[in-house]
């Protein structure tokens, strides 16, 4: 859940939302957590099209969508990509939230041009980006995304427990959830919710320990790893301490960063 407040002012307390902007102006928004509110103010104007890539529909990854201003503007193309469920399609699952009593506005009542796309395992072109999606280890249908453009690769696995059930993690990369998406990415944004002490009491919850996230990044030979999806109980001071401890044990501290709201990365070769 979101955890704004003075204790999280430096790292941020919003839930997952990441913007990817291409050189030709294609805008991808990865997840629609509460961070979407702040992201909206930074979007280029006028906005004609935006593509949301939702990893899954847990509320912390969706809660910002109903408050996204362009949804209420005519003529804006809003593409929402996300996983369907076993028994319900994406649209029906989205409207569980975007409808009364949980939200006062019906999805179908919005004036913008909303198009829903069910992702599964596969690839597609979105503007200038090539986007690959695949299911990853997390409760419920959950995607990870690999986004490529001009040789640069971003991998986005914000809710992911790659070490679940693996007795000696990491094992064979071919048998590691998410490996195919993250392999040799320039930037991996990965779940790093728990400390090593916290993780044993949260096994199976679908989130990674920080150490496992680092091991996963090393396994995938990524160039830069952003530790993401901080536990809402972790304050800025906690994260500072965790950061010092963690970066003290990695081989190359330069490639591992604790994600902070507002951080940006420029990629390209």
């Amino acid at each position: 859940m979101a955890s704004p407040g003075p204790d999280t002012a430096r790292y941020g307390g919003n839930t997952s939302c990441v913007e990817v902007e291409g050189n030709e102006g294609t805008i991808l928004v990865l997840d629609a957590g509460t961070g979407l509110r702040r992201l909206t103010t930074a979007l280029p104007q006028p906005l004609t099209r935006v593509d949301f890539l939702l990893t899954h529909l847990h509320l912390d990854h969706l809660q910002g969508l109903g408050f996204f201003g362009p949804l209420y503007q005519e003529g804006v193309e809003i593409h929402v990509w996300g996983p369907g469920g076993v028994t319900h399609k994406l649209g029906k699952r989205l409207t569980r939230y975007l409808s009364p009593p949980l939200f006062p506005v019906h999805l179908r009542s919005l004036p913008s041009n909303i198009q829903l796309h069910e992702t599964g395992e596969g690839e597609r072109e979105i503007g200038e980006f090539r986007v690959r999606s695949d299911y990853v280890c997390h409760p419920g249908p959950t995607m990870g995304y690999r986004i490529e453009n001009g040789g640069a690769v971003i991998a986005y696995l914000p809710d992911h427990e790659p070490a679940l059930g693996v007795q000696d993690f990491p094992g064979d990369p071919e048998w590691t959830s998410g490996y195919g998406l993250a392999r040799e990415a320039d930037l991996l944004i990965h779940d790093a919710q728990y400390t090593q002490e916290e993780y044993p009491s949260h096994v199976g919850w679908g989130h990674s320990s920080i150490e496992d996230a680092i091991r996963f990044g090393a396994l995938a030979r990524v160039r830069q790893l952003v530790l993401f999806h901080h536990d809402p109980q972790h304050t800025d001071d906690d994260l500072d301490r965790i950061g010092k401890e963690v970066l003290g044990i990695v081989d190359d501290p330069e490639i591992v960063t604790l994600g902070k709201e507002g951080d940006s990365y420029e990629l390209g070769r």
């Binding site: 996983p83 599964g120 395992e121 299911y135 693996v166 071919e174 959830s177 195919g180």
Partner: protein, 127 residues
């Protein structure tokens, strides 16, 4: 690489004391666990992945009368074809040369997005 459901199936199999085969949609045997090793008479580390043509014949499956069971009549192969569970008792000769009577039930793995990602076969020795 295998889909996450198969990865989790392998991990589950590695934790259970029930002999289990994990097979992909092409019928290739991707993994069998330690209890299964005791029945088929060799370790997964030694055989690795086995193509369907190999595992459906190398264990010499026969019925109660000793008649060879053709691959399409094996429960696991039937499940691959029909995507329905299947159950049967039969005899196999392990790679250690021992003849064993087993009962096997195979279950299709139908995943998110209407994907058929493989089959889990549980089997046990009937003594």
């Amino acid at each position: 690489m295998p889909p996450v459901e198969i990865i989790l199936a392998r991990q589950l199999a590695s934790y259970l004391s029930v002999p289990i085969f994990v097979v992909d949609p092409d019928g290739d045997l991707l993994f069998y666990n330690e209890p299964a090793e005791r029945i088929i008479g060799t370790r997964f580390d030694e055989t690795g992945k086995m193509a369907m043509e190999e595992w459906t014949t190398v264990f010499e499956p026969t019925d109660e009368d000793g008649v060879s069971i053709p691959p399409p009549e094996l429960p696991l192969v039937a499940t691959l074809e029909t995507r329905q569970p299947a159950l049967r008792s039969l005899y196999i000769r392990g790679l250690d040369g021992e003849l064993r009577r087993i009962t096997t039930v195979s279950v299709p793995l139908l995943a998110q997005g209407k994907r058929f990602v493989g089959v889990l076969a549980f089997f046990w020795e009937v003594k």
